[in-house]
Symmetry: C2
């Protein structure tokens, strides 16, 4: 956790956002966005995905974006990788954190990364071994991403014991942190409270756990609050709510970064983010879109009278 920050806001828009819209941002356009958002104080950005460019042309310049982004002082740069090859490329480009994603749902994992969850876990082990055997990469944080943890568009409900089992296996395989994702926008806050309560009971309080919510059915920030109440202190979000999942029809964007920051600061939780500067970054992102909508209410409503940023307890 960066100094003076109570909750880590992890920007997803450049990956989860851009991968699901038509417009392909130029590398320079991505960098303008990244610089502006880093300038606003957002401490960590996921800037790309190391998948075959044929699958996601929007992510074709991910290595180049990572290489430029890691030049920005104090910014933690993360990238997504579906497999060993992608993870190698992400580390080579210099990513500080690599999110390796697998689904709890077998059907979703097969559809998303074309292998069983067992094979995904073995692949995760190989990624850890590769990281550990290359001294240059020893500081890279490997994040165990658990997609469809709250339900799946292909197979419906996902069982809590399955989530716990894969969480334990990811940690055993060497994951430095866990990221629990409501990939398709199925979660409700009661479920979120129950899942994270059980997860902390299972893996202990020392494991860094992040949460990733979509606002598909309007419950994104309620889910974020429920996660915070259980002790989660790392949250994924997307500027202007840009986002979705190309494999999950109907899934809308991540929770809105600026709305989340407003919620956290209002609740006395320091994010390190300046909201005015964040809205500037939003404009820089928006002016590159070709008709795609953005979301969020804070950009329209602004700060309440008498608002004060959170301060040290």
């Amino acid at each position: 956790m960066p100094e003076g920050v109570d909750v880590l806001v992890h920007e997803m828009g450049l990956r989860d956002g851009l991968q699901s819209i038509e417009t392909i941002f130029s590398t320079e356009g991505k960098m303008d966005w990244i610089r502006a958002e880093a300038e606003s104080g957002v401490p960590q950005l996921q800037v790309g995905s190391f998948v075959p460019p044929k699958l996601l042309p929007q992510m074709a310049d991910s290595a180049d974006v990572v290489r430029q982004a890691i030049q920005i002082p104090d910014l933690v740069v993360s990238a997504l990788a579906p497999n060993l090859k992608g993870a190698k490329n992400a580390m080579e480009a210099g990513a500080h954190q690599v999110g390796v994603v697998m689904s709890i749902s077998e059907a979703h994992n097969m559809s998303n990364v074309r292998r069983s969850t067992k094979e995904s876990l073995e692949d995760f082990k190989r990624i850890v071994e590769y990281r550990d055997s290359n001294p240059a990469y020893n500081d890279v944080c490997l994040s165990g991403g658990m997609a469809t943890a709250f339900g799946c568009t292909i197979s419906g409900p996902v069982s809590l014991p399955d989530v716990m089992r894969i969480a334990e296996q990811l940690l055993k395989a060497g994951a430095n942190r866990l990221n629990v994702a409501d990939t398709v926008g199925y979660a409700n806050p009661g479920q979120v409270r129950d899942l994270f309560t059980e997860l902390y009971r299972t893996v202990g309080r020392d494991v860094a756990i992040g949460a990733h919510f979509h606002d598909t059915r309007g419950l994104g920030l309620a889910n974020a609050f429920a996660a915070l109440e259980t002790g989660v202190r790392e949250l994924d979000a997307s500027l202007g709510g840009l986002g979705g999942c190309p494999y999950a029809p109907g899934a809308s964007g991540n929770i809105v970064t600026e709305d989340l920051v407003f919620m956290l600061e209002s609740m006395g939780m320091r994010t390190g983010v300046d909201l005015k500067a964040l809205l500037k970054a939003r404009k820089i992102m928006e002016c590159q879109l070709k008709g795609e909508p953005t979301h969020g209410t804070f950009a329209k409503a602004g700060l309440p009278l008498g608002f004060a940023y959170a301060s040290a307890a």
Copy 2:
């Protein structure tokens, strides 16, 4: 609480929604909406406001609407009143519940109902006396509405002790229930949790307490979840998010009824509402609008695969 219902959803659209938009619905148009929404299972609707028609022409037919709505079997019909005269008219029309509204913020109360909070409390006492002295009205539930409980667009932050003091005074004056309102969309879920925890501590668990949230800054459902976690079991909402406050610039609509019902049922809390039928009611409401926007994500995203309505514990 109606039988088989865990959380009471109280529809606000016909009052808080219609009073803040340009379009004036015909009495028949309101009744079409009311019948469709009652048919979907929403157990309680606020159908009008007994204010001078010059101030709110949208509410001019409130007495007529109440008189027709109370003919619908099992529907609880509520109405808003700013003062004794309005409350008398609401009772005469046959409203089952009358919400008498005052603001915690002196400045907002003065602006909204042109009197001090002390005078509002004295007026509340007179309304209770009037109800008690008329046997025909003895069953009317008088709700003590506490506006701007989470902050005020005129005077900024509102103090927790002020909220507690007015809650106690309203109960002492004879209020049958309390309704705590984030009139201007300032609340955050941490604040909601703290306020209701303190309120139950102050007035006890036997007092029926409702919560009224606006989604001005995207935190409406997060606030609703926070209230539920403290024990609140009555929530105001507006179909399609129609709503606002004519005295609070920038305030957007109430939390969205269909999104709230989806959240509650997903969490295993029975509402008695059929979501498909509720979306039908939404269409009946929407087709009468003249360009005003509606909100909410459930109407777009639909039910998750494998969704089941809540069942008795």
